[in-house]
């Protein structure tokens, strides 16, 4: 598009970014506030950061959040890419309806996804209880646990359920854009299909896989509603801890953990961006 941004446009954009970042700025500033208050400045302190590190509940919630997001992203990336390859090779008659179902977790309201999975897990656990009681009474060799609870496992399943569609959504267009002759050429030149996949297809669709993984991770980290209904009472993500606190009083430790998260992500993004810019520059120079 032609580049002719006026000054007014720039000002408007700056205002929108101010709107997006003002609350984050406030959050960070008050993480250094020497008081429980979240609105009155009482002087500088680092004590919330020290207390944060000693707070077992928040640290374990942080750990749960990171672990479930990373695990879900890794598994969803592999599973989603595999599924996308499968869909791509599927007859259109089948692909259409299946892709519609695949879209459900993305378009459905989070709360509906959350409560529906919750109902499923509860029903499954009830059925499992009946089955194991019958099974245990039948023989004495293997004793199966009769009571199962929602926890990290169900949380992970829930995250996978809404992460995988995003990966598929990002990988499918890249498969469609790919020149199909490439695979034939590779196979004509003696590659097996698997080799062709690793050496030809994968590099072609890599941008889609990367952006799919990135979006899956973003969705996992940002999620609260679905986790809330599927994590059970013993497992908590960071957002659930915050939500629990809103009923009583939110500790400035939450400000501290938010600031740490924000700075980490910002640093990561800057590093990635600088590296990409450098690579692009090198590429351009080589072209010249």
């Amino acid at each position: 598009m032609s580049a002719k941004p006026s000054r007014l446009n720039r000002v408007l954009m700056a205002l929108v970014f101010l709107f997006l970042y003002a609350p984050i700025f406030v959050l960070i500033v008050f993480s250094f506030n020497d008081s429980q208050s979240r609105t009155v400045w009482q002087g500088f302190t680092l004590r919330w950061y020290v207390e944060l590190l000693q707070d077992r509940a928040i640290m374990s919630a942080l750990w749960t959040t990171l672990l479930v997001s990373l695990l879900a992203t890794a598994i969803a990336t592999v599973a989603g890419t595999m599924a996308a390859v499968g869909f791509f090779n599927m007859k259109k008659r089948w692909r259409g309806p299946i892709l519609t179902v695949n879209n459900i977790p993305m378009t459905n309201a989070d709360i509906v996804t959350g409560v529906s999975l919750c109902l499923l897990f509860v029903a499954f656990f009830a059925g499992w209880g009946d089955f194991t009681r019958w099974f245990n009474s039948l023989q004495g060799l293997v004793h199966l646990p009769t009571r199962l609870h929602m926890g990290f496992g169900t949380l992970l399943i829930a995250h996978l359920t809404f992460d995988i569609p995003y990966v598929i959504l990002n990988v499918m267009p890249k498969l469609r854009q790919m020149d199909k002759n490439l695979i034939d050429a590779a196979q004509d030149l003696g590659c097996t299909w698997m080799q062709a996949f690793w050496k030809v297809v994968l590099p072609e669709i890599k941008p889609g896989i990367v952006s799919g993984a990135l979006i899956a991770f973003t969705m996992s980290v940002d999620d609260f509603v679905i986790s809330y209904f599927t994590a059970g009472s013993a497992t908590s993500t960071l957002a659930m801890v915050v939500y629990g606190m809103t009923k009583r009083r939110i500790s400035p430790k939450i400000n501290a953990i938010s600031s740490l998260l924000f700075v980490t992500v910002l640093t990561l993004l800057i590093v990635v961006n600088v590296r990409e810019a450098r690579q692009e520059k090198a590429l351009e120079e080589r072209k010249l």
Partner: protein, 284 residues
């Protein structure tokens, strides 16, 4: 040969059946049954009592979606006209807040909007209240901002604005520049180019943006609880209390969720039909 590769999708199709289709079937089953078991329509007939909540949820979500569109479209358009480098940084900046969980960001708005919050402190520091009181004779000490519907809409706009900007931007950015050139060469002014070419072509992005803002807005429960207090109960809050709250009744909760889901799907279908018509009109 081709069909064998489709087998890669089989595990995931099983997953979809188990964790996408089966849960929705569960919701339907719960919605049409009572705690004692057996078929009933009672859950739906009881819902009339919540008509107010339904109306409020749809009203606030609609307001939030409109505001997001009014802000998001120009921003997406302006970003797409900047340099490549600027565009990439701007997109990163729009995505970045999402990596801090939305609850953390919403919580921050509480301290900004409170009666003794930062905004009211700022207004009082610049003497705004004194001015108003002197002019009108009122006795104003703060603007009541938190625990209002306005605060809830603000929270929705704040949280879901990126979902409006991103799809619109990606559609505009992919637009064929030669189409715009052609329109200009044929004598269209920039307002006309925008109205006749850019706007219709960006409609798919607008539609997906509207969906991505409206659906989470209409079903939210954390935002309303944090910024709306206890007065501005929304559909999400209603469903939540049926599942984890004091009023435990998953059957009623499922029925409410089902009705909400159906209304949303119908809205989206109508909108998409309308949108497709537009697109075809452009193609012709």
């Amino acid at each position: 040969m081709k069909n064998r590769r489709a087998l890669f999708a089989v595990p995931y199709v099983g997953w979809l059946a188990l964790f996408v289709v089966a849960p929705i079937v569960m919701v339907v089953l719960y919605a049409f049954s009572s705690a004692a078991g057996g078929f009933t329509l009672e859950n739906f007939s009881r819902m009339g009592a919540y008509a107010v909540v339904f109306a409020r949820s749809f009203k606030l979500a609609l307001a939030a979606t409109l505001i997001c569109l009014l802000i998001g479209y120009p921003v997406a358009y302006m970003i797409s006209r900047e340099s490549q480098r600027f565009q990439r940084v701007a997109m990163m900046l729009i995505m970045l807040p999402m990596w801090m969980n939305f609850l953390l960001r919403t919580y921050s708005w509480m301290s900004i909007l409170e009666n003794t919050g930062l905004l009211n402190r700022l207004f009082s520091a610049i003497g705004l209240f004194r001015l108003i009181n002197a002019l009108t004779g009122a006795n104003l000490e703060y603007f009541p901002m938190i625990n209002t519907q306005g605060a809830v809409v603000l929270g929705m706009v704040y949280n879901y604005l990126p979902f409006m900007i991103l799809p619109i931007y990606s559609v505009i950015e992919k637009m064929d520049a030669s189409l715009l050139e052609a329109a200009r060469d044929l004598g269209a002014g920039s307002a006309r180019v925008f109205r006749k070419v850019i706007l219709p072509l960006s409609l798919p992005g607008v539609l997906s943006g509207v969906t991505m803002v409206f659906v989470p807005s209409v079903s939210t429960f954390a935002i309303s609880k944090l910024l709306g207090g206890s007065n501005e109960l929304l559909l999400g809050d209603l469903i939540e209390t049926q599942f984890v709250g004091t009023a435990y009744n998953p059957h009623l909760g499922s029925a409410i969720a089902l009705v909400m889901m159906v209304v949303v799907v119908v809205c989206m279908a109508v909108m998409n039909r309308f949108g497709e018509g537009e697109e075809q009109a452009v193609m012709l």
